[in-house]
């Protein structure tokens, strides 16, 4: 049985899709058969992050409506053999998703895969609720700013009320993933600190991803940043994958960097 993990946030633009691509890749590179489902019908992005946008023929809606088989719609990642993508439809809207359809697709996938990552659309409407409905675990992608924290808080409330697990008296396991963390700006008081965020959300932390230009570069190139193994963001995502798998590892990139002479002189972030 596959573990279903929803990647959600409420707020848009915080790094859900980037996170999904990197975590999915990370899990697959460790040998877990992983499929990522893009629930952002109408605004699909996950294919771009993986650089497979030209290979999309059928999508989630086609499968739900019986116009294509799962086998036809799944796209195998060209870098990680155990990673597959079920893309969203770009031409339809979220009303085309049905609870029964999503359930059938997940049931079929759960037989063949170890992990199913559901990349949720922003917001708390139908699309987001369907993405989280069957989840076993949730990764709450949050930026260190007040609006993002509040939206995540709202989503946690939904996870505790509007999921199958909650309706059966259970609980979706929650993980907090803080993205775009900039220790320098925290020190300067421009950003909420990790402690501030955890104080409000009170959710176990699965990772802190430093703000980094390599993420933007990777997104534009269609290569998940986790592949760039020496980049800080990549290391942080690898650690997040480890923690997701139950391993313990110390937090990195949460203390302000001591700037050396050269980086002070020549500046620039990695």
């Amino acid at each position: 049985m596959a573990k279903i993990i929803v990647i959600t946030s409420g707020k848009g633009g915080v790094g859900k899709t980037t996170t999904c691509a990197s975590l999915g890749t990370g899990l697959a590179l460790r040998g877990y058969k992983t499929v990522m489902i893009d629930f952002d019908v109408g605004l699909r992005n996950l294919d771009l992050m993986l650089g497979c946008e030209r290979r999309v023929v059928y999508d989630l809606i086609n499968v739900i409506q019986g116009e294509a088989s799962l086998h036809q719609a799944l796209i195998r990642d060209k870098r990680a053999d155990d990673l597959f993508l079920l893309p969203a439809s770009q031409t339809r809207d979220k009303d085309a998703l049905t609870l029964e359809g999503v359930e059938q697709v997940l049931q079929a996938l759960t037989l063949d895969f170890d992990y199913i990552l559901c990349d949720s659309p922003a917001g708390i409407e139908r699309g987001a609720q369907l993405a989280m409905y069957f989840a076993d675990e949730a990764i709450l992608v949050t930026n260190p700013e007040i609006s993002s924290v509040r939206d995540t808080d709202r989503v946690i409330g939904l996870l505790q009320a509007k999921t199958q697990a909650a309706k059966n008296g259970g609980k979706v396991a929650e993980h907090l993933l803080l993205t775009r963390y900039n220790t320098q700006r925290v020190v300067e008081g421009e950003m909420l600190s990790l402690e501030d965020v955890q104080d409000i959300l009170a959710v176990p932390l699965v990772g802190v991803i430093p703000e980094s230009e390599s993420i933007l570069k990777a997104s534009n190139q269609g290569v998940p940043v986790i592949h760039e193994t020496t980049a800080a963001a990549s290391i942080a995502y690898q650690d997040a994958v480890s923690r997701l798998l139950g391993e313990e590892c110390p937090l990195k990139f949460v203390e302000p960097e001591k700037q050396g002479f050269f980086s002070r002189m020549f500046g620039g972030r990695k």
Binding site: I146, R150, D151, D153, R154, I156, G157, L158, Q160, D199, I200, A202
Partner: protein
């Protein structure tokens, strides 16, 4: 010019109004049927200046007395003491007839049914486990509310009684929502968007910077919300 005593238009279409009401009366429950003993006790109460006996009309309840009661004798003694005996409450038809003959009202013993102890009318305390998240609303319509966790920004907790928050209050807390002015709010840390007690509210109620650190209680005094720290800060 129209005569003031003769209005040109008769605007009063209703000569009277009838309204159901309940007015105060004193209920006397004799523990004995011996009228002299009762009268003596009443005289003593009058001497002590019992306001209840002096002003409000008296209703005597006879339902639970086993022995015969001399109602006529009691009535005349009441007249002598200037106590206005108004009615008799009894389920016994004989006593009801007697009361009517004596010019008193005869009331049935049926009261409005009292709520049994196990009925939900009774105030209860609701305990909510965990943090109240943005967008969530916890309401305790009758009784107190205890939150084992924080109340986050955008969350709302309401109770007709007190609200206890074992965590930081960062959202909204409304106590005494049915008008209980004695209701209080307790929280381990005050950084609220809004607090209200019995309809008196204040937004951005953070106290001063020192109070924001420790546990506080908030109460209503002369239409103002006041707070006090429960533990020293730090």
């Amino acid at each position: 010019m129209a005569d003031a005593a003769q209005p040109r238009l008769n605007l009063v279409t209703l000569p009277l109004k009838l309204r159901g009401t309940s007015l105060p009366a004193t209920l006397l429950q004799p523990m004995t049927a011996q009228v002299p003993v009762l009268i003596k006790a009443l005289e003593k109460r009058l001497q002590e200046g019992s306001a209840l006996l002096g002003k409000a009309p008296l209703v005597i309840e006879l339902g639970h007395l086993q022995e015969a009661f001399d109602l006529a004798g009691f009535q005349s003694e009441c007249e002598r003491l200037n106590i206005r005996l108004l009615a008799v409450r009894s389920s016994d038809p004989q006593q009801q007839t007697l009361a009517k003959q004596l010019g008193l009202m005869a009331l049935n013993t049926q009261e409005r049914p009292a709520n049994a102890a196990n009925q939900e009318e009774l105030a209860r305390t609701q305990v909510h486990e965990g943090t109240v998240r943005s967008g969530q609303q916890i309401i305790q319509d009758k009784g107190d509310l205890v939150i084992l966790g924080g109340v986050n920004p955008g969350a709302e907790v309401l109770a007709s009684g007190q609200i206890h928050i074992y965590g930081p209050l960062r959202g909204r807390a409304l106590a005494g929502i049915h008008g209980d002015r004695q209701a209080r709010i307790f929280t381990l840390q005050l950084a609220a968007e809004l607090v209200a007690i019995a309809g008196s509210y204040q937004t951005n109620f953070n106290g001063d910077s020192q109070a924001g650190e420790g546990a506080v209680t908030i109460w209503l005094e002369k239409e103002r919300l006041l707070y006090r720290q429960l533990t020293p800060a730090g």
